[in-house]
């Protein structure tokens, strides 16, 4: 190789420039960026559908869309956001980028597989977008049979295949992450020195490995039934549509933990860094991630309380659903205890982390209402459910994703964004979010059903509040896109460790070398060896 002396330090961003060097890269950091691009696109696509839904619901009459178009709108919103934003956001974007850095590895265990995952994901997304362009789907993101297999005249087949394909990206990522965390840790990086984000990713990978194949086979059965007329869920033959619901939620409930566990890991990192303290009860937080992953597989039938399951199994599933609150509460209390007497540093990632704590708390507690059998009968398929899962999936997962994105952005790009604008965005999202979904709890409690494009006039005030909140939320989500893009060109140099954080990812330069570290790091202490004095100097 010719000896070339660069003025600029070599980074993963500038050591190769061609388009092919991006599309054929095996570098986990570049693959993380590729995911970031697709996920961001999907996020804005899903956001457009959400905007249209809130516009329609600003008035009681159905003046913008017909019922049929409205059905397609909320379905496409759900499909895009769940399968192409929430599931991949933190693990595939941030996890891919920082996980090997955090454990001191040069790359994930299977870099080619990692690239394949992205292609599989993107192909699945293209299928789904194609189905939307061809007219969309109207089954709801849950694809319940027999409507999806027989009744619907929309593009169920194409969307089903798209989501089926995307599932394999999740499976491959899960396998890759588990092997990487098992086998690729740097010398001295014992399990209990791992950052809590890694524990969260490991638990997530476990859910991906055990859960995703089940949704894959379920969607395959649906596709076979719809496309080739096999009769597996067909009630005319004596098949059981509720079986579909069981199989669907066997994945899709744990999938909620795929969405929320990695952001929880991000929050552990951010709270430790910006309060300059070791995470209170490290091992409890670590094991609560695993506990959530395991319990998560035992609660699926709480989505079926009104589907005609036996009261005895309903009782057990109700109890187990309450049990999930325990590891979640362990985390929340431990984060709060970490803040106690910490030297709180008020930066953008910390703002998002605080937002996460508040919204996740509300989302989690309202989940308990839905886990109780009696109340659930009243609240099923109302806006209460919609509000609850948005508090978890958007309030929790997206807040955590944004916290992570703001936390690692200097590492990813080597540039600082505008901190004031960042704080403003966090505030806008927090206020806008509560204004959007807070009223929906009341609407649901009063009995407004979800998935209708018209509603009685007495619900209008709360719906207008909700739509108004959504517009604030939209500004809050567009703002980071602007200042992030601005920072790429004009942002100040971040330096290797702008937050004075611990953790191996901050020991290498920003943006990192193509091979992450010049020499393989050796770890001698726990993940959060912060001292308050160091903070005061900073």
């Amino acid at each position: 190789m010719e000896t070339i002396v660069y003025e600029e330090p070599t980074t993963y961003l500038n050591h190769q420039h061609s388009v092919a060097s991006w599309l054929l890269t095996y570098d986990h950091k570049r693959i993380g960026i590729l995911y970031l691009i697709v996920v961001t696109f999907a996020f804005f696509l899903g956001g457009i559908f959400a905007t249209l839904i809130r516009l329609e619901l600003a008035t009681p009459a159905g003046d913008l869309f017909s019922a049929d178009v409205y059905n397609r709108m909320f379905t496409m919103h759900g499909v895009t956001m769940v399968f192409f934003v929430l599931v991949p956001a933190v693990p595939a974007v941030l996890g891919n980028f920082v996980m090997p850095l955090m454990i001191g590895a040069k790359d994930v265990a299977f870099p080619k597989l990692n690239l394949l995952s992205w292609y599989v994901f993107t192909i699945g997304f293209i299928f789904t977008v194609a189905s939307m362009i061809l007219g969309g789907v109207d089954t709801g993101w849950t694809f319940y049979t027999p409507y999806s297999s027989q009744g619907s005249e929309s593009n169920v087949l194409l969307t089903g295949i798209g989501v089926f394909i995307t599932g394999f990206s999740s499976i491959l990522t899960g396998v890759n992450f588990m092997v990487t965390i098992h086998r690729m840790r740097a010398p001295g990086m014992t399990w209990f020195r791992l950052p809590l984000f890694i524990w969260a990713l490991y638990s997530t990978a476990l859910v991906m490995v055990l859960g995703t194949p089940v949704i894959a086979i379920t969607l395959l059965m649906l596709v076979l039934e719809r496309g080739l007329h096999l009769g597996i869920f067909d009630p005319r033959l004596g098949g059981d549509p509720v079986l579909f619901q069981h199989l669907f939620w066997f994945y899709s409930h744990p999938a909620v933990y795929i969405m929320i566990l990695p952001p929880m890991g991000v929050i552990s990192e951010v709270i430790a860094c910006f309060s300059r303290k070791n995470v209170f009860g490290y091992s409890f937080v670590a094991f609560s991630s695993l506990a959530i992953a395991v319990f998560g597989f035992l609660v699926w039938a709480h989505h079926l309380f009104v589907a005609g399951i036996s009261p005895y199994s309903a009782l057990i599933f109700s109890f187990l659903s309450f049990a999930v609150a325990i590891p979640s509460a362990v985390k929340t209390f431990n984060w709060t205890a970490t803040l106690y007497e910490g030297a709180i540093w008020w930066k953008t990632p910390m703002m998002f982390a605080f937002g996460f704590l508040g919204l996740f708390l509300i989302g989690g507690l309202t989940g308990l209402f839905l886990a109780s059998l009696g109340l659930d009968v009243h609240l099923t398929d109302t806006y209460f459910v919609v509000a609850h899962f948005h508090y978890i999936m958007v309030g929790g997962a997206i807040m955590g994703y944004f916290a992570g994105l703001h936390y690692w952005w200097p590492k990813i790009t080597g540039r600082m964004y505008n901190d004031t604008l960042g704080k403003l965005a966090a505030l806008l999202i927090f206020v806008g979010f509560n204004l959007t979904f807070g009223p929906q709890f009341i609407l649901g409690y009063l009995g407004m059903p979800r998935r209708y494009h018209v509603y009685p006039p007495e619900f209008q005030v709360l719906n207008v509040l909700s739509s108004a909140g959504a517009s604030i939320l939209a500004v809050g989500y567009v703002l980071p896109a602007l200042y992030f893009l601005y920072s790429l060109k004009f942002g100040a140099e971040a330096g290797a460790n702008p937050w004075k954080a611990t953790g191996l990812e901050w020991t290498t330069q920003s943006p990192p070398l193509p091979e992450n570290f010049r020499t393989t790091p050796v770890v001698t202490e726990g993940a959060y060896a912060y001292s308050k004095r160091e903070m005061r100097v900073a």
């Binding site: 190789m1 000896t3 002396v5 660069y6 070599t10 050591h15 590895a105 040069k106 790359d107 265990a109 299977f110 870099p111 597989l113 499976i171 899960g174 396998v175 890759n176 588990m178 092997v179 990487t180 098992h182 086998r183 690729m184 490995v209 055990l210 859960g211 995703t212 194949p213 089940v214 894959a216 086979i217 379920t218 395959l220 059965m221 076979l224 039934e225 080739l228 007329h229 096999l230 009769g231 597996i232 067909d234 005319r236 033959l237 004596g238 098949g239 059981d240 079986l243 199989l247 066997f250 070398l513 193509p514 091979e515 010049r518 393989t520």
Partner: protein, 326 residues
């Protein structure tokens, strides 16, 4: 890249094994990672087939008669032959891995080719089985035909038959593809006793697909075959229908009807105390004691006068759940 790093890296390259990827420390770490990855992938495969087998289990509990009827339509000889073929292919695969381990390169190629041949044999036989199903209108859909009241449930059986064996056959096709690539690699002498990971991982995959079939064969082909054994032991021989003494017909699955709404859900245990009920269908005492089986009395309602061949004690004690062991 600063000079020092490149030089160090090149120097490093000079020493290590050509098959060692740069992000691993040594071949051992690479091998462990690959093996763990393959096992995890197989776990996902278990979950994948698990979903289908769950559906199978549920409907088999609900519709035991239909399952017996459907299973009788399958060709047990072709299925059995294919089972033998696959078990044989697992042996040749294991021998291929062994040859790769010991560095016997030509033997590796030979065993891999043998494995591919057996895999293709399986697929060809499967093709003829599918063809037969098409010809006899046993493919689910608008053209499905099956005589008798159990027809809809039998259609579910065949739906699951095609889903399970279809997904399995797809895995076989992928397996044959993988094996072909590995064979080419072996032919080009890529493997050595230090590095033969693809052969080993390909072998893991192949054995897994084999084991899936070992489950599918009894689940699909052998459901309720047991009652043939009973028939033979109780004097009956040959095909279904009238067996042994013509005055005492043996009731077979297709002659017995379940009440549609209660299909399979109202089993109750038949015990010696049930004499009075049992008298109606004239079951022998031996069956009641040893059968202790979940026999749905309601099924016999439409043929109260049918005489039933008494089973021998030995025969009935073999069965714990004979839907129609009569």
């Amino acid at each position: 890249m600063p000079n020092g790093t490149i030089a160090a890296h090149d120097e490093h390259h000079g020493q290590h094994h050509p098959r060692l990827q740069h992000h691993f420390q040594d071949l051992e770490q690479q091998h462990e990672a690959s093996t763990l990855g393959m096992w995890l992938f197989l776990v996902t495969e278990v979950m994948f087939f698990g979903g289908l087998i769950l559906a199978y289990t549920l409907y088999r509990i609900w519709y035991p008669t239909a399952w017996a009827l459907g299973s009788e339509e399958l060709n047990i000889y072709l299925g059995g032959f294919n089972t033998a073929v696959l078990i044989g292919s697992s042996l040749t695969m294991a021998l291929a891995v062994r040859s790769a381990q010991t560095g016997a390169q030509r033997a590796t190629v030979g065993w891999l080719l043998f494995t591919i041949a057996l895999g293709l044999t399986f697929l060809v036989v499967k093709f003829f089985e599918y063809k037969e199903k098409f010809e006899r209108f046993h493919v689910p859909g608008p053209n499905f035909r099956f005589e008798g009241p159990e027809s809809p449930h039998v259609q579910i059986f065949f739906s699951l038959y095609f889903a399970l064996t279809g997904v399995h056959a797809l895995h076989m096709i992928i397996g044959v593809g993988l094996m072909s690539v590995i064979t080419v690699m072996a032919y080009r002498k890529r493997f050595s006793p230090e590095w033969y990971t693809p052969v080993e991982l390909g072998g893991l995959y192949w054995h897994f697909v084999d084991i899936v079939w070992i489950f599918l064969f009894p689940l699909l082909y052998l459901v309720d075959r047991s009652h043939h054994i009973v028939s033979e032991l109780s004097g009956g021989a040959g095909d279904r229908g009238l067996q042994g003494d013509a005055r005492r017909p043996v009731l077979h699955a297709h002659q017995v009807r379940q009440q549609p709404d209660e299909a399979g859900r109202r089993h109750r245990l038949l015990l010696p105390g049930d004499h009075a009920d049992a008298d109606v269908v004239r079951l022998s005492v031996a069956r009641m004691v040893y059968g202790a089986a979940r026999i749905d009395i309601a099924r016999f309602d439409h043929q109260p006068d049918a005489e039933v061949a008494p089973c021998s004690v030995a025969a009935c004690s073999r069965l714990l759940d004979p839907p129609v062991c009569l």
